[in-house]
């Protein structure tokens, strides 16, 4: 008597057009995480600071007159971004780890 009397065997569907794409861009545990500069959050900030007065001891010609170019994430957005990045780390707790001493 055969162990598999039905004769059925598992088989994966054949890929016809390259690799399957997912809606999020994530592939299993390979998470796609945008750069903070690509996130749509220019005006926000994760800290509360009071506006201060005009610069009194700096020459006018040195004062910044254009944006720095930094994004503005809120505190939860910042925490989530770096937590997601931390899950991409490879470390001694996940597998073999080559010490820099051995180079």
């Amino acid at each position: 008597m055969s162990v598999n009397a039905s004769g059925w065997t598992p088989r994966a569907p054949e890929a016809t057009e390259g690799e399957a794409q997912t809606w999020t861009g994530n592939r299993a545990l390979m998470l796609e995480e945008a750069l903070i500069f690509e996130m749509d959050c220019e005006k926000g900030s994760g800290v509360d600071l009071e506006p201060s007065g005009a610069a009194s001891a700096l020459p006018d010609g040195l004062l910044r007159n254009r944006p720095i170019g930094l994004p503005g994430l809120s505190e939860p957005e910042t925490v989530r971004h770096y937590t997601r990045l931390s899950r991409q780390n490879y470390a001694i707790d996940l597998g073999l780890f080559r010490s820099a001493r051995a180079r």
Binding site: A57, L62, N65
Partner: protein
């Protein structure tokens, strides 16, 4: 050019003013004092000089499937640690760099601008108050959050007297440049967003008493 990064929220970038290579100390953004170190150094240059930079550049590259990867992207002049103890040093530096990066993300564009303004306003306020103390002359006309005072007495003793009263009142130039008679009365003061009105009053009072 050497710069204090918080100042860049208020003043033009060194690159905009013509600098090709800029270095700075990143301790003031997210890194604790830690009894003097380790801290995080900042190093920037124009793209034409990038192959002459020491160390390695962490950044982004892509794999064979054109997927983005974060990695040590470029290390033509990396010096990998080989001496005993260097591994820990490298990891401590990376933790400082991570703390700096997260702190900068939290601040963002508006946060860094406000932080710079707060630092400068506090420094200007403290400089004005200290400049009114008898025996004190403000040396700098222009500054961001650090300025130098010229005292009527050698500053090393003044700093000791203030410390005996529980006030760490700045860095004596006489200690940094021993034997330079022109600098022995100099006192370097830094004021940041962490300074409260009570701290300012304690400093002014301690300096008045030390110079009396």
């Amino acid at each position: 050019v050497v710069t204090e990064p918080v100042a860049l929220g208020l003043i033009k970038s060194p690159g905009e003013m013509g600098a090709d290579i800029v270095v700075g100390e990143g301790q003031s953004l997210g890194v604790g004092l830690q009894f003097g170190g380790p801290y995080v150094g900042l190093f920037a240059c124009r793209e034409k000089h990038v192959r002459q930079m020491p160390g390695r550049l962490a950044g982004m590259t892509s794999d064979a499937r054109e997927a983005r990867l974060r990695a040590d992207a470029f290390d033509p002049r990396a010096a990998y640690p080989a001496r005993e103890g260097d591994v820990e040093h490298l990891h401590q530096f990376r933790l400082c760099a991570l703390a700096f990066t997260i702190h900068m993300t939290l601040l963002g564009e508006t946060g860094l601008r406000k932080l710079a303004g707060t630092n400068h306003a506090a420094a200007a306020r403290v400089a004005r108050r200290l400049g009114q103390v008898n025996g004190v002359e403000l040396v700098n006309g222009n500054y961001f959050n650090e300025f130098t005072l010229k005292l009527a007495k050698p500053s090393r003793q003044v700093v000791r007297d203030m410390a005996n009263k529980g006030v760490l009142g700045g860095v004596s130039l006489g200690r940094l440049y021993p034997g330079e008679s022109e600098l022995e009365n100099g006192l370097l003061i830094a004021v940041t967003e962490t300074v409260q009105t009570d701290d300012e009053t304690a400093l002014v009072t301690a300096l008045e008493e030390a110079l009396a």
